[in-house]
């Protein structure tokens, strides 16, 4: 255990790898977060599922009519969209707090910083798992949607998780140092919910579809939502997301290897 001449990059990679191996700790912390939020509540995390379901039941028929879409198809579209969006947006919001919220642990222990990122991802996966049950009645109502291409949703999810790691490290560092950034990201995501094709479709834009296509969040939603509905996502979306993954990982890794030792001082 020495802080001798190993390169910062090696230490950063080591942090990310050894943190992952401590899965006992981050799965426990992630579960603990969910349990803590819902202790003494009878149905616990299902409350989130219920509120999402209510939103689907409310928004589905209404916006389906507004946009002139067939109700059954549109409701299942909104259901898949909303649970995907909630996963993505809450991972981003929570990324801002990964290190700030773990201040006590970070200052007193030598645990790798990456475990707090994995913890946040795990917590959101648990909630996503609950939300996913909303799709069950959707499948029952529209059985034709079930298809082998749904397995691609797993690939999309996996890709999102890889992105979550770099986002958690990057936003975690930036937000620990500059405390205004969490507010900026939160309000940005509120607007992004309307600007990203979550409850509307890019086709509705007619010849202005590029507005949706230049939005990276759209592609991130697309690679999970479409397979969930038994459709394949466009190749463009996969390409864009893979590109984001590569660029994001490199930038984030550089940031992390440079500032990893400083995080404790900023808290």
């Amino acid at each position: 255990m020495s802080t001798q001449a190993t390169s910062p990059l090696f230490k950063a990679l080591n942090d990310i790898a050894s943190g992952f191996r401590l899965h006992k700790i981050w799965t426990m912390l992630g579960w603990q977060d969910v349990k803590q939020r819902y202790r003494r509540s009878v149905i616990g995390p299902w409350w989130l599922t219920i509120s999402t379901a209510v939103m689907v039941a409310g928004m589905g028929p209404l916006y389906g009519r507004l946009f002139g879409q067939p109700t059954a198809g549109y409701v299942s579209f909104v259901a898949a969209s909303l649970i995907t969006w909630q996963l993505i947006s809450s991972i981003i919001t929570d990324s801002c707090q990964v290190f700030i919220a773990a201040e006590g642990h970070i200052k007193q222990t030598r645990l790798p910083l990456s475990i707090y990122v994995y913890r946040v991802i795990w917590r959101n996966l648990i909630i996503f798992g609950h939300n996913l049950t909303i799709m069950i009645p959707v499948f029952i109502l529209t059985p034709s949607a079930i298809d082998i291409s749904m397995l691609l949703a797993l690939a999309g999810l996996l890709l999102l998780l890889v992105n979550s790691v770099w986002m958690g490290l990057m936003f975690g560092i930036l937000c620990a140092r500059f405390r205004d950034i969490p507010q900026i990201i939160t309000s940005f995501l509120q607007i992004a919910f309307f600007l990203t094709p979550v409850f509307w479709k890019p086709e509705m834009l007619g010849k202005h579809q590029w507005v949706a296509q230049i939005n990276p969040l759209f592609h991130l939603v697309e690679i999970i939502r479409n397979p969930l509905l038994g459709k394949s996502a466009p190749l463009l979306s996969w390409t864009v997301v893979i590109g984001i993954t590569a660029v994001g990982s490199i930038v984030s890794l550089r940031l992390f290897s440079r500032y990893r030792p400083r995080v404790a001082y900023w808290l």
Binding site: M1, T3, Q4, Q36, K107, R110
Partner: protein, 237 residues
């Protein structure tokens, strides 16, 4: 061989925000606290540890003595791995048990048993090891049926028994402690002191920070005097 070798350790805390300028004057003239300096980017920083060098060998019992803000706790946190020194090298060998914040990771809505598992997991113990240690820890706390109840139903004295029992359950080469731990009422306290003593005896190195010179003289063979983040004197007893 367990050891701690530090060479020219420096720890600076950056001060951010608009108030940093005026804060500088406020801190500069106080008797306690670290000394102020400016780093390369001309930011105001508090130098919490200033060029510390020392060697701690197996068998050493080190006492850290100094005012509030002299750097005792910062040094302990550096040794515990929380802060990485800004410059200088730190070479440590041996397993480390940090008793700096033994309540870390506790959850008042969870039961005593759940809390024991949580603290043990954070310490890096596997589920097999936790299961093996559990009966002994549970028995030591004397909490009996209470262990199945949420922590919030405990009195503060009962509350502390759990982290204490866990922290002293596992032996380590290097033990770090900020002030002597004591818990419980009179009879429990005696038992607790015996248990803590046993753990410390088996440790190869102890680093203990305290304001009490008498306590340090009783338990340590060397006393480091810290002032404004510098190591100004080492007494060998």
């Amino acid at each position: 061989m367990a050891h701690i070798n530090a060479k020219n350790l420096i720890v600076d805390f950056p001060i951010y925000g608009p108030a940093s300028r005026s804060l500088k004057n406020a801190v500069l003239h106080s008797a306690t606290g670290g000394s102020l300096a400016k780093d390369a980017a001309n930011r105001v920083v508090v130098r919490a540890l200033n060029d510390l060098s020392f060697e701690i060998r197996e068998g050493d019992r080190i006492g850290l003595l100094g005012h509030n803000g002299s750097g005792k706790s910062t040094l302990l946190r550096v040794l515990a791995g929380g802060y990485e020194p800004v410059s200088g090298t730190l070479d440590m060998e041996g397993s480390v048990a940090s008793m700096l914040s033994i309540t870390l990771g506790m959850e008042s809505e969870a039961t005593g048993y759940e809390n024991i598992v949580m603290i043990c997991t954070l310490m890096g113990l596997g589920s097999g090891e936790i299961a093996r240690l559990m009966p002994e820890i549970a028995e030591f706390t004397e909490l009996g049926e209470y262990l199945s109840m949420p922590l919030r139903t405990y009195s503060s004295g009962m509350h502390m028994r759990i982290p204490f029992a866990v922290a002293t359950a596992v032996k380590a080469d290097i033990v770090l402690m900020d002030e002597w731990l004591s818990v419980g009422d009179e009879s429990f306290s005696k038992k607790a002191q015996a248990r803590l003593g046993e753990m410390l005896d088996s440790a190869k190195i102890l680093v203990l920070a305290s304001h009490s010179r008498a306590l340090l003289e009783k338990n340590c063979n060397r006393i480091f005097h810290l002032e404004h983040g510098s190591l100004i004197q080492v007494d060998t007893l």
